[in-house]
Symmetry: C2
Subunit: 181 residues, 2 copies
């Protein structure tokens, strides 16, 4: 998904500024399964405006640059729905964390522990964040389904790490002992 489509997607849930779109990828509805930086969002929004996919209204503010609120046009909504017709390819995951653990036998046991601790904390935090979002009231059907999916996967990930960290560290320590002989 390119950033233009991602912006359209966020705007389909209501008007927003570039800044708010970024937040939607960090804390909002799209958190954890899409991202984009300002350097990609602002140009994307400008192009969408050129193409008539969005309209913008400037709200003057003091001390800050004008806030530009973007709103989807019918053409923009159509374009978004058109992209929903693609056949999705396989999900792409790039995990530096798993890359490091792939080489666990070359990492000091303490480091493995710290790495896993941090990752469990991350998953738990994300899970708690989803609870908060749930508490804020019901959301759209698809949105709820995706959140449930994220929850299931994060829970499984945290559980796996908790259940298997001790054995991993034991095995690595044992190997280090043998290598020292």
């Amino acid at each position: 998904m390119d950033v233009k489509t991602l912006c359209l997607a966020v705007l389909s849930k209501g008007e927003a500024s570039g800044y708010e779109i970024k937040k939607a990828f960090e804390e909002g509805p799209f958190a954890h399964f899409q991202t984009a930086s300002f350097g990609a969002i602002y140009p994307a929004l400008a192009r969408l405006a050129d193409e008539g996919m969005v309209t913008l209204t400037e709200h003057a503010q003091d001390g800050k640059p004008d806030k530009k609120m973007y709103r989807l046009t019918p053409a923009g909504r159509e374009a978004l729905f058109a992209t929903l017709e693609i056949t999705p390819g396989p999900d792409q995951i790039r995990s530096d964390f798993l890359f490091l653990l792939f080489f666990a036998e070359h990492l000091p046991p303490r480091r493995i522990n710290a790495l896993i601790d941090a990752r469990i904390a991350f998953f738990k935090g994300a899970l708690a964040h989803m609870d908060e979002l749930d508490a804020q009231g019901p959301c759209d059907i698809g949105h709820g389904f995706v959140r449930g999916f994220g929850r299931a996967v994060y829970q499984a990930a945290a559980d796996y790490l908790e259940a298997n960290r001790a054995e991993l560290i034991n095995r690595v320590s044992e190997q280090n002992r043998n290598a020292a002989d």
Copy 2:
């Protein structure tokens, strides 16, 4: 992780050609959590050779271009271990599948069904593939841990889809009925 480091990682498990490195990302040890295309692998390998991180031996073959087998040098191994010292950022996931399901209420129920079927099949296939790899004998500690992680997550994903697809489709169908009134 850039492609250069990824190549180093594959080569740490034994010598390989560019073609074989690609396969390692598709079916081999790095399957499902890292990818790279030929257009990235071949130039990366050439640069690694320039930098003295790998050596290459050409094996003449008939009917095919010479096969270039790359092998890690001590400097390459050191460079790989040096990158293991990074602090891993959050995992990056880009899922067109979840993007589509986020807008489930705008998708025909049949399509939702087909989409979920295909994804369950994918997860089950990946799980079966991991069983095969397990049957091929024991692997390194970290490698096994990562595979177990992937297994746990894929299993949870497949389970969630199976457990919640019916409700999702009911809810979308119901909404369509209401909208038709």
